[in-house]
Symmetry: C2
Amino acid sequence: RPVNEVLFFPCETVCMEHILSPSLQLSCFCPLTHGKKTSMYHLLQHILSASSSLDVCIFAFTNTDLSRAVLALRGRGVAIRVLVEEKNVSICGSQIPVLLGAGICVRFNRTPISMHHKFAVVDGRKLITGSLNWTCTGVHDSNENVIVTEVTELVRPYVRQFARLWLCNDPE
Amino acid sequence: RPVNEVLFFPCETVCMEHILSPSLQLSCFCPLTHGKKTSMYHLLQHILSASSSLDVCIFAFTNTDLSRAVLALRGRGVAIRVLVEEKNVSICGSQIPVLLGAGICVRFNRTPISMHHKFAVVDGRKLITGSLNWTCTGVHDSNENVIVTEVTELVRPYVRQFARLWLCNDPE
Ligand SMILES: [Zn+2]
Ligand SMILES: [Zn+2]
């Protein structure tokens, strides 16, 4: 039975250490709430479910929890491609330099048509898409929606769209 | 079999008269391309398919083709509710004054949490959602995605979310 979920934001700030550093288990002693399954918890779990590939096509990427999830996948050998709108590469808190520093393959939308997508495809078969940019404002201070689906009719067009935009923005 | 479609933008500018003024049929003599089934054509057809209700929850609304579609539904007696981010009510080209002038029920997000959604629900059972704001830039100058789905698992949470935000922003 394919995944078909909707997540809404904003989402309260809770401790993500037990998700992002699983070795800590639930023994983190920071002052934040622990173990609460917020929308952000579910979003991170879907991203972390990647076993072979993660393609991210995002207008803005400043959220460090999401960035840590991507880095964790990189550490596990998951093939990662990130396409980002060029004018947002250097915004305050941008995670793009962090991803590049970890050797992740990042391309910038340099076409005259701005790139407003906010989607990711996990293992070529799970789509994460909606109004949510991967920013702190999006996650914690804004009404946002995200669909997570494995329905092939919906996933396949995004896989093709990613391939097209990735090719369009080949720096070579 | 439920609708499950993905539309991508940007979309070239073509004549929308035959969709928005069906009495003209295909006999419009303007210089634009006619009869081409672009993403915008499909989006407008899905909106115009409303027979009883249209609920719109949108960050920014400046696109006149989309506004004309909403006004056409109003003319047919479809119950329309529009929730818009307050800070975008008076932006250049805003269609909100036009909708209000036609007697359409509009509420403004006045909560401290900004409203970044871009979705609509047709007849309580067809969801239109994605990265696309209802603006000219979004439709014609930006890479955007829209999902149109009748899958109940996906539609129902948006129906509830609309009801919640509508109530939160009751001006009474
Ligand atoms: Zn903690
Ligand atoms: Zn024409």
